[in-house]
Symmetry: C2
Subunit: 492 residues, 2 copies
């Protein structure tokens, strides 16, 4: 079969790339590091976006849209922020092309159209947004300001991978302003939980919620909260982050408000975002050697029906049955496609929809109709079952829930069996190399040790879990005292 | 009142700008020519986008996402296209900043990070999309390819106006590929009608459907279809365009398909788009000297309720009534806000929601409750009416339809009374200067005359209406023979 994939065991990275391409999620583009999100992948993103957008609105946020370009001088205003993003910026320097006088039919940059100040294609929007907030916030009555933006951003990464790390990606970025530090911290934590709920309940992917070490914080943040998920190859993936920015941006852009007590105070800030990277996480967490496995709640297509027939008479009979099933499923809010295209055989279609990760496949033929049954196959376990036609709709509804839950349980069992406590540097390296997953180890709390561990093992501290229990111990690397274990892993 | 607007009669352009700013739709940004779309304006855009997106999907289209950047060499491939867009391109030349060694705390473009080939921030996506289609289309089975993209685009305009002409704007761009010219033309016309339906039935704005003269065609198109609307100042506004691109892009990017007869043929193309410019059209078409007037079907907020009370006891009584009304309206899918904020008085709120164009305002106080009525004000006519509480929900439902229809009728009456047939150049200039609107005049069909008319009067040919009747006559400008009238106007 042309669609055959490299197996995960053979080459996980290759399997992933093939899956993205053959599954029709995305394609390489002619622009270095940028991808094309194909219709099937984009529908998946739309489904994820719609759920998240509703969650944001239900928690009091509204959407707005800020400019794509950030003047260079704005990026400079918050020092840590500037350092964090300056090295990966796409820079607009000119605003016009002209025909090349020495090269017929070719265009060249018009040297007369040089910008006075260079514009950066936003790598994130704190700077441009806080510059606007300066005009929008005067008094405590204007707070909290709870705004989200859906947008494209550009970070000039040197090594790119489809969805996981691309020069341009799609995301949402929340930017909120508050009267007090407490409120801002509460907001940052609230959004972390919104992300956690989304990833667990819709993407069927268990996450560990925690905070980043200072080394791994967002450029310009006082605290970075994160959700970390585990992929099937034992590597961790940061699935979303939420930042408490303190007053850094308020001070950089001079955003003050008049308190109830008539005093001028700087505003407190958060920002939080998830991106199309989540699609990479989804693929790596659930899919198998036959193709994508997509949780029903966000699947671009939940059910596919394939007819089995010989000749137009049988086809007509099958069509009639299928039309009723399609209507029944749609009435229950289940998306369904009847694939009766004649170019390909049923076996080819089965493999194709398996590759695309459609949660439920229904096959129906003359014999099934005679026996009053249909054949139902679920993508997650690949089980096939003959289901009485009268029970079909209820059975599919059950499968939507059951597959969702099963994928979550499977991912959770894998994740939980891949959190390993280690108590020595030898053990650390051994588990990292042989088993992978999260390593719960004592760390002395210094960035120096963190750097050295990264240097020697390539593992990073993924997070200090929010629900961490205090425990006395000694750092696996330095032998110095430690008050808690933190989670290390190799990571995407 | 702080919100008082310049009247339309005093200064239409000033009125428009103030309305956008004070109405909370958008704000200027620090980036030249780029605006911030504020939450109220963005919600309006979301409502418009959601309706259009459903219309596109109902006509068989799917969404995808293509890169923000277009390599310079791609833009060169279609000559007309290149000429049309080269002069207004934002050009990315570098991919990194570095700290300025001579200027502490400042960043500079890193000269070592110059791109080999400059990247253009997409002004439209034909080039990048057709380069992808080359790999996606092999056989007639891959056609038609019906793809839409929601995206931001950048055209470096010298004179910008909020929503009407901004350097960056949001839009959708459909890009379809077909096996035959007939199919592509049918698609281009179909989407023109989708746009027409949307603008007329949701934006309550009548449009004239027509084709552009060759002079006014999209750069790279064989035929440009358009919908033209009339603003209250008598100027026309192009509200959407749909292009039959022939095989120009297929040839430029070498996109061929294998026909059923086993022959290699170039593919036929269309593209079509509407943008945030529609918000400018909406504002200019319906609003008045008191503020925005927004048609109920796309209004960010359809109903606002303002309580009138003295003291907490009355407030509690009003709250109870209002809660029931809010529940009743929401159950009927009507968006509603209960504004019981204590910072401002009812009169201030009335003016504020008038400014924001909320279609229906309900006021309710102690006396109303005693009398079993509520006060209902409609934004379009400013009529106030005392409505029995028991009939309220039905009455508001009626108003949603009636206001929508009334706005359309009003705009239609204005538009129809501003299409003037003229038969001499004197008359042409007089109507243009004194009355405005569309001028139906004979034209000899040459681009030279079209250019001269534009030069002398600033009027352009808006379109040749699709339903035009043949009529023998002589060109108002050149006196040469003409077979039909075309529509001229001053335009945005």
């Amino acid at each position: 079969m042309a669609n055959e994939l490299t197996s995960r065991a053979t080459d996980y990275a290759q399997w992933y790339n093939e899956l993205i391409l053959k599954g029709g999620l995305a394609d390489y583009s002619a622009v270095r590091g940028c991808m094309v999100i194909k219709p099937y992948g984009y529908t998946l993103w739309e489904n994820m976006r719609d759920v998240l957008d509703k969650m944001f609105k239900d928690t009091g946020h509204v959407n707005a849209y800020f400019p794509l370009f950030v003047p260079k001088s704005f990026l400079e205003k918050e020092e840590g922020h500037a350092e964090g993003f300056a090295k990966e910026c796409a820079v607009v320097t000119h605003y016009r092309l002209k025909t090349d006088p020495n090269n017929k039919g070719k265009l060249m940059v018009d040297p007369d159209a040089k910008l006075e100040e260079e514009l950066i294609v936003r790598p994130t929007s704190e700077a441009i947004i806080w510059n606007a907030y300066k005009d929008w916030i005067q008094s405590y009555r204007d707070l909290p300001l709870l705004i989200n933006q859906w947008a494209n951003v550009v970070r000039w990464e040197m090594r790119t991978r489809l969805f996981l790390r691309t020069a341009e990606f799609l995301w949402q970025e929340g930017h909120t302003a508050h009267a007090t530090a407490e409120e801002a911290i509460e907001e940052a934590e609230k959004m972390l939980h919104v992300y956690g709920d989304f990833v667990e309940n819709y993407m069927a992917l268990p996450v560990i919620k925690g905070i980043k070490t200072p080394n791994e914080r967002f450029a310009g943040a006082l605290e970075t909260y994160c959700i970390e998920a585990l992929m099937q190859d034992g590597k961790a993936l940061q699935a979303g982050t939420s930042h408490f920015l303190g007053q850094n941006f308020a001070k950089a852009f001079d955003v003050k408000y008049l308190t109830k007590e008539n005093k001028q105070e700087f505003v407190w800030a958060t920002s939080w975002g998830v991106s199309t990277r989540l699609i990479g996480a989804l693929v790596m967490a659930h899919s198998d050697d036959q193709g994508l496995v997509i949780p029903p709640r966000i699947a671009p297509l939940q059910v596919v029906i394939v007819p089995i027939y010989k000749g137009p008479e049988q086809k007509a009979l099958v069509d009639e049955k299928v039309n009723a099933i399609v209507a029944g499923l749609k009435a229950n809010g289940i998306s369904v496609k009847y694939d009766d295209s004649e170019n390909t055989r049923p076996g080819w279609k089965f493999a194709e929809y398996e590759l695309k990760g459609v949660p439920v496949r229904i096959a129906i033929g003359q014999k099934d109709i005679e026996n009053g049954v249909v054949e139902v196959a679920r993508r997650d376990t690949k089980e096939k079952q003959s289901v009485p036609a009268a029970d079909l709709i209820e059975h599919v509804k059950f499968l939507m829930t059951d597959i969702q839950q099963n994928l979550y349980n499977r991912a959770l069992a894998y994740r939980d069996s891949h959190i390993t406590e280690v108590n020595s540097w030898e053990e650390f390296k051994q588990v990292l190399n042989e088993k992978g997953g999260f390593i719960a180890a004592h760390w002395d709390g210094t960035p120096e040790t963190e750097d050295k561990i990264k240097e020697e093992s390539k593992a990073t501290i993924r997070c200090i879990p929010l629900n961490n229990q205090p425990e006395e111990g000694v750092c696996v690397f330095s032998g110095k005292p430690s008050k808690q274990r933190v989670l290390f892993a190799m990571a995407y």
